[in-house]
Each structure stands twice: as C-alpha cells, then as structure tokens.
C-alpha cells in the first residue's frame, strides 16, 4: 500500500487532466464489460427461462404454450414435438459423461501431476507439459470425430453390443480432454508443498513412494480436489464432442449402471445444439426451452466453480 499511496500523492496534480480522465475511463469501461457480460448472461437466462414456465410466464406477459416447472425438473421424457420437457433426461446423460470422464481423468490426471511434480527431471517436464497442453488445445469437434470414427469401432471389437452413438466413447474423449486441467492445477498445488516437508520425510527414513503418497498428496489435497471440480465443470459444459459422439435420441439412463454407457443419449449441451439446428421459431416454446436448459447448465457450472474456489481458499494449508 505504501507505494500506492506514494504514487497517488505524486500523480495527484495530473490525475484529473483530460487525457488522464479519458484513458482512465476507457480502462474502467473495459474492466466493467466483464460485469456487464455476467449480468447480461444472468438476466437473459432468467427472463427467457421465466417465459418458459407456466408459473412465471404471466409475470412476463407471455400467453401461449408454457411448460410446468415441476414437469421440467422431475420429468424423465424429453420430446419437444409432444411438448414433454423433462430435463432430468438430459441431466442424467450429462451426469454419465461427467462420471465417465471423471473415472478416466481423475486417476490419470493425479498420477500425471505426481509424476511431473515429484519424479520427472526438468528435461522430461519441459517436454511433457507442452505435450499435455496439446490434449486440451485440440478443438472439441475433432475429439468428437475421433470418438465417432476411431474409438467406437475399436470399442465394438471388445463390446459388440455397443451402439454407433454411445456414452462410453464420448466419456473417454472428454476424459482425455480434461486430463491436463486436473494435472496442471494438481501439480501447481503439489509444487507449492514446501521442500522441508519432503526432506523431513526422507529424514524419517521414508522412501520416495512414501513421501509422494504420504506427504505431498495429503498436503496438496485441497488443490487436488479443487482441480477435480473445475475439470468436471468443464466436462459438464463440453459440447461438440458429446454432440457428435453421444447421439441425438434423448432417453433416461441410469448413470450408475455400466451397461447404459453402451447406449447413446442426449446431454444438456447436445440438446441445445440439436434444438438450434432444428426449426425453432424465435420466441416459441422450443426456443425458450433452450434458455431453460442454459440456465440449469449455467447454475450447475457456476456452483461447481464457486465450490472449487472455496475449497482451494478455505482448506489451503498455509506454509
């Protein structure tokens, strides 16, 4: 703060000249744009979703077909043509993708982070880290194509009953896509563990394995968990890979039943793309259902981001 006060003291004379005012206002407006964006997202999603539900539509001055909020949140059929909007169908599909990608990304990502932070030489790290970044940099539409054209046929050799569109291949590519996220945030947390702790462990006669699993990982646990949540929120919002690979037929599947991964369904994001590609008239019920799904998606990812932030802040070990 000392230098800040000094700076403002030194620059007070010129601070209000037209040029300073103009530039400062411009920079302030740029920063303000991020708040405007957030407010626009929230207001837009809430007002359009409000027009969708029977209970709130009259408040918005909307007449015409609407959907019941109870049916929306508890129904298990998604049939736009017959006016059945059960978002649970879509949520269950998204949950499957999230679960499936977590099974792949969490162990692999944490293992990668341990390797990079504890075992890898500087040289290996300088090669492996950019290589991992490539995994996150490949466009998701390319991953979707890979899942549909190469991974599904390869899986059908082992699992003959797998469908052309299936949750398994979509989960695999989404999992691979989010490995770098888990790995890089977890590795940051592990690198932040002070060397004293490791040296103390070695001093007690611990092996490298003991130190990595018994000291570093527990000490970095808050960062690791926050990386899980961030990565999974990314998996939930992932669109093109699941749109291409998971199919377009909405059906309610049990996320915990492994057999249901062989079938295809329609995750939330894919449903939004499908709605847009179909003939929806601006202002119709289908158009508004888009925003209702968008609101659910936005709320889920926002909550996860906030939780991740909270865990990282609240349970951080201070050294």
């Amino acid at each position: 703060m000392g230098t800040d006060e000094l700076t403002s003291d030194l620059t007070r004379q010129t601070e209000n000249s037209p040029r300073e005012l103009l530039t400062r206002t411009f920079f302030f407006l740029c920063a303000g744009l991020s708040i405007v964006t957030t407010i626009s997202i929230v207001v837009l999603l809430v007002t359009e979703a409000a027009k969708f539900f029977t209970i709130t539509a009259p408040l918005m001055g909307i007449t015409g077909p609407t959907a019941s909020i109870v049916d929306f949140l508890t129904g298990t059929t998604w049939q736009i043509n017959s006016g059945e909007f059960g978002v649970l169908t879509l949520v269950s599909a998204t949950a499957m993708i999230t679960l499936g990608s977590a099974v792949i990304a969490i162990p692999l990502g944490v293992a990668t982070a341990i390797y990079l932070s504890e075992y890898a030489s500087n040289r290996a790290r300088s090669v492996l880290k950019p290589a991992l970044e490539i995994l996150a940099g490949v466009p998701t539409v390319v991953y979707g194509f890979f899942a549909l054209i190469y991974i599904t046929p390869a899986l059908s050799v082992i699992l003959p009953s797998i469908g052309t569109f299936n949750m398994l291949s979509a989960s695999i590519v989404v999992g691979v896509m989010i490995i770098p996220m888990v790995a890089s945030i977890s590795e940051d947390a592990m690198s932040a563990v002070p060397d004293d702790l490791r040296q103390a462990g070695y001093g007690m006669g611990a092996t490298k394995f003991d130190v990595a699993t018994g000291i570093v990982v527990p000490a970095a646990l808050s960062g690791i968990f926050s990386s899980f949540i961030l990565a999974l929120s990314r998996a939930i919002g992932e669109t093109m890979a699941v749109t291409i690979a998971a199919g377009s037929r909405a059906q309610f599947l049990n996320p915990l039943n492994p057999a249901s991964f062989l079938e295809g369904s329609l995750p939330m994001t894919a449903a939004m793309v499908q709605l847009l590609l179909g003939d929806i008239t601006g202002g119709g019920l289908a158009y508004r259902s888009l925003f209702a799904i968008g609101l659910v998606l936005f709320v889920i990812t926002l909550i996860m981001n906030v939780i991740s932030d909270f865990i990282a802040q609240r349970y951080r070990e201070e050294y």
Binding site: M1, I35, L108, Y119, P139, G237, T239, M240, T243, L276
Partner: protein
C-alpha cells in the same frame, strides 16, 4: 530375522523393498503417457486417412529421401555439432518460411475474394493520412494542449473516413456535401491495375514494418534502405509472377508476407555481427532439397500420395460428394472471424487488465471484478452462444450467423482468458520501472503507455494468440448464433453469413454423415484445422521463448 551376533548387525536393516516404488513410478509414467499416446495414435489415424501416404509411388519417397532427408540430416548434424545456436536459427528460419507462407495464403484469400483492391487502397490511404496528421500534431504537444489535439484528430479521422456531414448528417437528413477521402479515392475514374494497388497496400505495409525492424537493429539509414529494398522486391514479384505462372496479386502477397520478412530475418541472423551463416546453410539445404525433390518427381513422373488435402480441397466450396467438397469458404470465414475477434478482444482485454493492475485500488469492487472474471472463464461456451443469440440476434435485431455477431460472441468468450494472461504479463513488469517513470514526473497514462505496455507486450501477445487459438476451434457458440452449416461464398462484409472450419467439419461429420465424408472430407478438414492451430500456437511459443530469454 537372523542376527549376526559377531558384527552386531541385523540382516536387512536399513533396506526396504524397492518393488513398490518402482511399480508406482512406472504406473505414473504410464498414466502420464496415456493421453499423449492416445492422441498421437488418433492423429496418426486421421493423418493417414487424409493424406493416404500408402498411395504414393515408392520412387516418390526415394526421390525425396535422397533430395531432402539425406542432405538435411547430414548438414543439420554437422551444423548442430559446430554451433547449436546456428542450428536453432536455421530450423526457426524454415519454420518461419512455412508459417508465413500459410499466413500469406490467408492474406491472399482476403485481397482476392473479400476486400476489393480499390477499397483496400482507399481505406489504407484514408487511415494513413489522418494518422500522419495525428503524429504531426503530437509533435506539437508542447504548444497545443490535449483537448484541441484530440478534437482535431477525431475530426480528421471522421472527415477522412466519412466526409461531411457523414452518417451523423445522413441521420439528420442533410445530404453529403464534402465527400470522404475514402469515397473520393474510390470514385477516381482512372484506377491502376489491381496488383499495383495490392502492392501499395500490402507491400507498403510490409516494407514499412521491415524498415522499422531494420532501423531498430541497425540505424535509420539502413532502415530506409531496407524499406526501399523490400518494396522493390514486392514490385518485382508482382511484375515477374505471371512469367512463372503465378498471378500478380498472390505473387505480391506471398512476396510481401512470406519471402521478404523471412529474407530479412535470414539476413539478420546470418550476416550481422552476432549471427552466423551456418544456420542459413542448413535452412537453404532443407528448402532447396524440398524444391529439388518436387522438381525431380515431376520430371521422373513419380506420383505423390492421393492426399485429400489438396489444392482442390483448399479452394472449393462444399459439395454433395466428398471428393469435390472443399473448405474454402470456411477457411475465409475463420480468418474473418479471427480478425474480428482479435480487433474486439485485444483492446478490451488489455484495457481491463491495465485497469485492474495499474489503476484499481484494492476494494470490494475490484475483488468482485476479479472473482467475476475467473468465473466467466469457467462458463461453458454454449452459454456464450446463448448470450450472442439472445442479446445480439433477438434483442438487438442483428441478422443471425454473421461475421460481426459471431466475432463479437467469440470475443466475449475469450475475453476472460485475454484479461487473465494480460494481467500476468503486466504483473511481471518490475515495479521499479514504474516508480522510475513516476520519479521522472510521468503521469499514470504516460507510465502505462511508455513503460508498462511495451514491457508486457510480448507476454500479452502470446496470451492473445493462444486465446485466439481457442476461439478458432470453437463450434458451439457459432451454432447457437445461427451460423449456417453450408456457405458457398466467402463473406464480403461484416454483415454477411459466415461459416468456419470447425463448423464445416461438424456439418460434414453429422449432417452429411456417410462413409465417404468420414474417410475423405472430414479427415482432410481436421488436418487443415489442426495445421492452422499448430501454426498459431508455434508462433506464440516462439515469441514466448524469444522474449523470456532476453527479458
């Protein structure tokens, strides 16, 4: 446990099994490699489908092996043993030539099919003239105060671009009295040939940049010579292009964007004091080997691979049959979208970063903006698409799927990333430098302009290019704002419908799903998209490494 009583040692004391640790270590390596290897295999598959290396003549491979691979490896190995720096320079030079050729292709596409040369020339002059006046005015800064200077500059730009009374007058119903400079140039009855106008715009811009670069390396005199030489080279390329079978316009663009800058860099690395010509030898061997190989297979009649990524694919529009389908409108659309996104997100993102790092005090509002930006970075891209659809299309009534709406939506999407990386770059500028500037009596804006931004610029640029790389691969927001799946022409205005490379790939792999598209058009599209991404990211990485070393 048996004890050896004579020496007092316990057998096995101080020893633990290494098995667990070793197995764990290998498991970790395997986990790290899993994703990388999987992606590498998938990329090999898609490259194989797109390029079909097995369809080439064995003689084709043999020719290139003898002409390109053997000499390159031999020369490269020798150079690397003598001087590692020179080898790195040579490799960078080859990479620069390849990447700049790709970019010049993009620019050529713009000047041939999007912006008419006359309009480009008119706008270039219409912007250069007031900028020149503004520079002159700034030199009079001690005589004229800021407010009249600003007013004069704004008026000049308005007059030059719109004339009097311009769009404001048109809205009030006053007819145009004084034509704008841009309009006046466009209505000149006698116009020069297309390629000369392109030379003036593209060659002039490139020559000016090269002059500035050389002047910063040597002195102003050398800079002026370099400008003249670069411009002359562009003109020569335009004049001689048709003789070797290349139209003048693309010849000018390729010379101005690819050959002249690469040549300048080669000159600097090879013939100035700190450079060494060894690296140039390596670069010439690689490029020459490729040219000799291409000439030899042509003469000997060896057929290359039946690649689906060919000239026809790059220059034709979508078609119902996979063999004839092409990516041209999507490539052009992606270029225009990226230009729009860069023009919108760069100033806004850097401005926000400057405010948060240099101006904002640590209060609740700043912290809120901070949290807000990191949360915006986590909002799914479809939601940004919804924002574009709801705000720009439905509320503001813009037509769906245009360059402007798509570009604005993607710019909002990458804005948090640009802000976060720019903030990091600005934060890494040592605060001593700021204090020194304030100590000299500089104001906050002067400090930002003269100290902070120039120091942070490489970092900001790297972050922005990486963010643009993210934007170029995004499909979902474009679908949400109603970008059409199939476009047959390049968009020629900001209000024209646009497609993009990933969108075209998606359309082929879902709407035109057939074995033919899956094995021909889609892999070819994926390869082109990944090649463009690779080029952008390598530019960002080279920039970062270069400035990390020196700075």
């Amino acid at each position: 446990m048996a004890t050896n009583t004579e020496s007092g040692e316990i057998e096995g004391f101080g020893q633990v099994s290494r098995t667990v640790g070793t197995i764990f270590r290998y498991l970790l390596v395997a986990a790290t490699m899993f994703g990388i290897v999987m992606l590498a295999v998938l990329l090999l598959y898609v490259a194989n489908d797109a390029i079909q290396p097995s369809t080439a003549d064995p003689g084709w491979y043999l020719t290139f092996f003898l002409a390109l691979v053997v000499p390159s490896v031999a020369v490269g190995w020798t150079v690397r043993r003598r001087d590692r720096g020179a080898f790195g320079f040579g490799a960078l030079l080859v990479g620069m030539l390849v990447v700049s050729l790709m970019f010049s292709g993009g620019v050529a596409l713009l000047v041939i099919d999007v912006v008419p040369p006359l309009a480009a020339l008119a706008y270039a002059i219409g912007i250069v003239v007031p900028v020149g006046f503004a520079v002159l005015l700034t030199q009079q800064a001690h005589r004229i105060s800021f407010t009249p200077r600003l007013a004069a500059t704004t008026a000049l730009f308005y007059l030059s671009l719109f004339g009097l009374p311009g769009p404001i007058g048109a809205a009030a119903g006053i007819p145009q009295i004084v034509p704008s400079l841009v309009g006046a140039i466009q209505s000149i009855p006698v116009i020069p040939v297309d390629w000369m106008m392109v030379t003036a715009v593209v060659g002039g811009g490139s020559a000016a940049a090269i002059g500035a670069y050389v002047a910063s390396v040597r002195d102003t005199r050398a800079g002026l010579y370099a400008t003249a030489a670069a411009f002359a080279a562009t003109v020569v390329a335009g004049a001689l292009g048709p003789a070797v079978g290349i139209d003048s316009v693309p010849a000018v663009v390729i010379a101005a964007i690819a050959f002249v800058p690469t040549g300048t860099y080669a000159w600097r690395g090879a013939f100035t004091e700190e450079g060494s010509p060894l690296g140039l030898v390596f670069a010439v061997t690689v490029v020459g080997g490729a040219l000799v190989g291409a000439f030899a297979v042509n003469v000997l009649g060896f057929a290359g691979p039946q690649s689906w990524v060919d000239w026809q694919f790059l220059t034709s529009a979508h078609s119902g049959t996979a063999e004839n389908a092409g990516l041209y409108p999507a490539i052009g659309g992606s270029i225009l979208l990226m230009a729009t996104v860069a023009a919108l997100s760069f100033p806004l993102g850097v401005g926000a970063a400057v405010y948060l790092e240099e101006y904002a005090s640590d209060n609740a509002l700043t912290r809120f903006v901070d949290v807000n930006i990191s949360n915006l970075a986590g909002v799914p891209s479809v939601v940004y698409g919804l924002l574009g659809l709801g705000i720009f299309v439905t509320y503001l009534g813009r037509s769906a799927g245009t360059v402007l709406v798509g570009g604005a939506t993607l710019a909002l999407l990458i804005l948090p990333i640009v802000i976060i990386s720019s903030r990091e770059a600005i934060r890494s500028v040592p605060s001593d430098m700021r204090q020194a500037s304030y100590g000299m009596g500089a104001t906050r804006w002067q400090t930002v302009k003269n100290v902070v931004l120039p120091e942070a610029f490489p970092g900001i640029l790297t972050g922005t290019i990486l963010a643009l790389g993210r934007a170029i691969g995004e499909t979902a927001p474009l679908i949400m704002i109603g970008a059409p799946n199939v476009v047959f022409n390049l968009p020629n205005a900001l209000g024209a419908k646009v497609s993009a490379m990933p969108l075209q790939v998606y359309a082929w792999s879902s709407l035109f799903a057939s074995e033919d598209f899956y094995t021909k058009a889609v892999p070819a599209g994926v390869v082109v998209l990944l090649a463009v991404l690779l080029a952008m990211n390598s530019v960002a990485i080279v920039l970062r490494n270069k400035f990390e070393r020196t700075g």
